[in-house]
Amino acid sequence: MFHQFSATAESLSKASSLVLRIGTDAHLYDDPDDVSIGPLLESRFDSEKVDALKRLLALLAQGSDVSQFFPQVVKNVASQSLELKKLVYLYLLHYAEKRQNEALLSINCFQKDLSDTNPLVRAWALRTMAGIRLHAVAPLVLRAITKCARDPSAYVRKCAAYALPKLYDLHHDEDNSSFEELVDILLNDHSPGVVGAAAAAFKSVCPSSLFLIAKSFRRLCEILPDVEEWGQIVLIEILLRYIIARHGIVKESIMFSLSTMSTTPVADGFPTFSGTSGNCQTLVGTTCDVNMITLMCKSYIDGQIECFAQTGCSNSNDDKLDLSLTSSTNDDVVMLLRCTSPLLWSHNSAVVLAAAGVHWIMAPRENIERIIKPLLFILRSCQASKYVILCNLLVFAKAVPPFFSQYYEDFFVCSYDTYQIRALKLEILSIIATESSIPIILQEFQDYVKDPDRRFVADTVAAIGLCAQRLPMVASACLEGLLAITFYESSLSSSSQIDGEAGVLVQAIMSIKAIIKQNPDSYDRVIVQLACNLDRIKIPAARALVIWIIGEYSVIGQIIPKVVPSILNYLAWSFTSEEPDTKLQILNTAAKVLLCAQGADSLAFRKILSYFIELAKYDINYDNGRMHHEPGGKILNGKMHSSISSTKSSRIYLPGSLSQIVLHAASGYEPLPKPCSLLNTDLTAGVVNETNDSDISSGSSIEESGSVYDSDHSSISSDDGNESVNDSNDTESTALAVRNDVQDVREKTLVDVSNVNVCVDDSNENTKGNLSAFISTDLAELMPKLALESWLDEEPGVSSIQTTQQASSGRISINNLNCTVTPKLHSLLDPTTNNGLRVEYAFSYEISTISSMLVLVEIFFENCSSEPIKNIALKDGESSLSVESSDQVLGESESLLRTANVPPVLSTEEIASLDPGQRVKKLIEIRFPHHLLPLKLAVTCNGKKFSTKLWPDIGYFLKPLSMNTSAFIDHERQLPGMFEYSKRCTFKDHIEKIAPVKDDSSIHSDKIILLSQILASKVLSNCNVSLVCADIPVSFNIDDASGLCLRFSGELLSNSKPCLISILVEGKFSEPLVLTVKINCEETVFGLNLLNRVAAFLQ
């Protein structure tokens, strides 16, 4: 019933929208090419030309290339109709660079328009002329800009300023003077709008020519509030750079005061400093902000080293100090601060942030607080700005937490916030918490713990840990709360395996660990409590952590040493049922306990340890790869978040910059200029020498201070994370040594065990010096260079390996295994739409011998009617276009495809007649314009023509590339980073096929082979690649398919670049599996599209 209602509602809304669409350009967007555009452009009537141009614009909007109309469009540039002109300009700007020669035709008209009486016409002509990017006319454009820069209309002058960067981008030589001259003229314009535009031009044309600002600095400051908002953003930045370069850092500013405190603890040399030093002391009292600020200054300013070198030695010489520093009473500084402060009220958040940035860097620190409230107010604008502001606030808050401590309410998380915003808010909250606000903040955190978003809950738990470390007074309260969460979560997670649940528990224990680490002696009870609840904690990673804690603190306090033996006994009892990573930690802990043990105990511990090792030997027989891989991997995963944030937090860029958001220097990012690098002509040349001298003299003191920041700057939880692994690495070397022996033995006896080792290269890259890397290198040597083929050869039932491509590539013979590769049939022409001819197509696995651009397609013609069909032929649908224009199309695509002379379809001969019911197969070769875009085709039969579209399948733009496993891994290594993309999807198809197979250990291997067959046939049916190998794991769990990895390789038809596909399986046979599809390919776009396609057909 509801369906009906909704259907009516839908049709109603459609009808109403239809009414609303009358008089709009809707029909043009929907069917831009339903009439022939060429003749319309030649029409005598402006209205028809406008119509044609709108159609072209619609095609352009939809991504079609309509540059073939360029010659016809460019003629209309002379039109008197402004609307037509506007549309022509829109078109010209899009295509002119591609069609340089034809575009030259328009130049005369622009020249004429430039002297038109209507300023709008002049402005448009200038904008377009500068925008079409013709090298040949660059001198003309420069002349036009020079002329327009003195135009009576402010709008035209503004456009002249906008045109400067365009010209500069197109063509500039060493001699920048003509540009600078024009910028200078425009900067001195009396109209605020022009000044704003000139500022933008200044920034892109001559950003370092700050001397241009010098003479008009005060006027620019005064005009600043009247400049348009966008101009304000740029102008503020320029003025700030000027001040720094001209006058240096302000003595009273936060940048200077605190950094010198840290570099030169004896601040007696500064007479002006005493006034504020009291305040500074209170700031220094709060932890770690000094390092943060020093780091910040270092990052903000170019050549910062020199600047601090000067201050470092300035104790002895006050004169020098004055050269690189200025005081807040400097007129220019006062002026800039005064003129930017009302901008904190701007309704444009970018202006607010730019103005706030100036105050942050220049203002005396007691006046900085005025920027906090306006910044916080931006949090109430759109979500997107919220994120950017929070990223900037995070840096400010880290530098000076007290500024924000009273505004903690603004960082409370609400349900409207996205996950990233929540994470930032949590981080800020944990930084700004003070002794008075922490009870309220913790209360708030307690609410968050029950949030449905478990990722967020895990972050909250981490934040609680951070708060406890920062404010020791609440540590025990936090610890209690964390323990409660631990026990609560562990009781839950046993019953439900909801995603993310495990993360909360692991994070909780990690936070506990971090708190304990601060003061282990006072928390021995907590450790005992954790240990006693060990059997309730079911998640392996969490268990492993608790066991690690026990091992680490086994000699702390009175109680623990007493419980340790019974814990070890308990672990000995449970060892065999533990997950591999837990086992590793048990070994680790046993070894640690043994090392610390004395006297009689040590004997007992030695026994236990050797028992463990004995068990481990037996254990390793089953699963060596997992044993070695997952412990390091999983524990690291849990800590990934915090460790990433800590490495990134050391990267600081100017407030409000893009680089600060993406945390790397974007191209074009410039730190502030070196203080006092701009020397006025008044300043004598001697000054330069002096500064240089001081640089050299105090180089050493800087390096010292530099090292201080570097070493002391990583958040506590993260270095714990590494440490835990490193520790275990060190202490358990004995245990490992034993195991290595075991492995050697194993290698000889067990040849048929395959190891899954897909993440070898990852771990090698990322985890330098930690456990998993250590082990993986170990493994690489030990591992037999296995693969499916070696294994299949021994299995009588599966041994037949088809040799379509190459036997050695291990392509499974799917015919023999009763699951055929079935290329999908797609319908090209439906019998109902014509006289009964059905045309279908399927992609062929064969490779064209004519050109690498061609894809082979099998076409099936079938007569579904009762009468014979005559003269069936297949043609390229585009051939209706005029010969000339199609030539042009080809000419355009030539550069891309390099095969201009290959027509889109190499058609086959005509089928003279097709009897009823008859089915004929033809093979044609097609050159698709793009791997996603369809090719228009026309089927003619009985003299009629039916147009249709043939959709490409991206999987057939490949050809098989046979290689062995090691070659595959080599190739994979060569295509890291941006050439590697992965995606997860769920796979269900196997369930009904595998379900009938009984759960029996002997059939386990069959199941996994069956699964690999299903997956392989799925891939091979949809992509023209070859199977490299299928790595099959042998696991304890019969029902577990995790670790199965299939690898396929192919190369791109067009350029023979390799394209690697790997599919990693996780999950159980009886349930939908999670597949991680990974593609390594140099052609990013192709690879991503292929990835989507693979994920789509696997799903």
Partner: protein, 416 residues
């Protein structure tokens, strides 16, 4: 500078591309972007606004089902990009009378022309709605009909707006009006958070002073409040002069013509809210009961209408049924429940009760939903902000002045 702007539908279709500079950006960036969206859960409103793709930095703003995507390769203030995209969305909403996929496609020519005026070479050019309106006539019913009848359809002005040259670019030079009136409207949104113990954690007002002015000539207005000290934060339209505000907290301005947002403000630390919502969840042995009570707390003196309560059931709830004693409950596909109450009836307080069936192996609920509350009160500015007087100078005759107020819920949520 922005190199290119794309408009994408919420299904990932590229509706429009506008290259801003000579360095063209290939469309494939959109498919990269969409893959990124899908990998993040498929909801464009939940992804980062600034993304570093392998080739470009992307700024994205999601509004009314449309993704506004801008690309750049060089350093520029990200807020500038985001703010510009928001401005584009605002201007388009204003021009097209709303924003959705169809309306963009139907008016793509105007969208192109607007984008071309709003940005040149990747730098914002003219974003002032008043000037834009003079350069490009918005499509309205009259022009649409005219175009159907006459076949002519030109919305491009042949004249440069005078305001481009004036020092007050937001206002036309010679505005002639038959009407002589100005309306001031206080629109406030109440943000509040109640914690799981039912205690008000945070309550503040985000308000806007919206002015609709139809005054001839160059009027000079002054607006003052009786209690400006309660304002915690303020932001102004460019027309507001800073000095009088700094000195006396008086808004002095030459208004643009038509509707605009004169000022936005925030009043923090309010002590009470007009309505209460009390959710209660109890659970044991696989079954949970939920009950939500709604009532009026501190009667604001005007009717509270459009009351809604919305919450999302936790994923572990497999089925639920609700019985309200007033209003209707809708359960959407993503387990979002929306209880529309309307007004609180006299003599009974609305109550929603229901049973939740948890997934098989769960004993009790361990995550709890957040209840979002919506309401509206006409005629009340909950912050208590009062307009003292509005003086209009420089007009031939005394204009009509109208004042209104409205409070509605903003980010108002009750945790359970």
């Amino acid at each position: 500078m922005l190199q290119c702007i794309f408009f994408l539908s919420d299904a990932g279709e590229v509706m429009l591309e506008k290259q801003m500079t000579g360095h063209h950006v290939d469309r494939s960036i959109c498919s990269w972007f969409w893959d990124y969206v899908l990998s993040q859960g498929g909801d464009p409103s939940m992804i980062l606004p600034v993304i570093a793709s392998p080739t470009h930095y992307l700024f994205q703003v999601f509004r009314d089902g449309i993704v506004f995507l801008a690309c750049t390769q060089v350093e520029m203030p990200p807020l500038m990009g985001i703010e510009f995209l928001c401005r584009v969305a605002d201007v388009l909403t204003d021009y097209l009378g709303g924003l959705n996929e169809d309306v963009i496609k139907d008016n793509f020519v105007i969208v192109y022309e607007l984008l071309d005026e709003m940005m040149d070479n990747g730098v914002p050019l003219t974003t002032e709605p008043n000037i834009l309106r003079e350069m490009l006539a918005p499509p309205n019913i009259v022009s649409k009909m005219l175009s159907v009848v006459t076949g002519k359809n030109s919305n491009v002005s042949t004249k440069l707006p005078d305001a481009t040259a004036s020092s007050i670019p937001w206002r036309k030079i010679n505005t002639k009006h038959s009407s002589n009136e100005v309306y001031v409207n206080l629109v406030e949104e109440m943000d509040a958070i109640f914690n799981r113990d039912g205690i008000l954690v945070k309550c503040e007002i985000y308000g806007e002073v919206q002015v609709n002015s139809h005054l001839p000539g160059l009027p000079d207005l002054t607006l003052s409040f009786s209690n400006p000290s309660i304002l915690n934060d303020v932001r102004f339209h460019p027309c507001v002069r800073f000095r009088p505000w700094e000195a006396d907290q008086i808004l002095s301005f030459v208004p643009p013509d038509g509707e605009f947002r004169l000022m936005s403000y925030r009043v923090k630390k309010l002590k009470s809210t007009p309505i209460y919502v009390k959710p209660q969840l109890t659970s044991n042995a696989g079954h949970s009961r939920i009950s939500v009570l709604v009532g009026i707390h501190n009667d604001p003196g005007k009717t509270i209408d459009s009351i809604t309560v919305q919450f999302q059931l936790p994923l572990c709830v497999s089925s639920a049924n609700f019985t309200p004693n007033h209003g209707t409950v809708n359960i959407l596909a993503d387990k979002t429940c929306r209880w529309s109450i309307g007004q609180v009836p006299k003599g009974k307080s609305p109550c929603l009760s229901g049973n939740l069936v948890l997934e098989a192996d769960l004993e009790k609920l361990h995550v709890f939903p957040v209840f979002r509350v919506g309401f509206r009160i006409m005629g009340v500015a909950s912050s208590g902000l009062q307009i003292h007087r509005l003086d209009v100078k420089n007009t031939p005759s005394e204009p009509y002045k109208g004042f209104r107020a409205l409070t509605q819920s903003g980010e108002y949520e009750v945790r359970s």
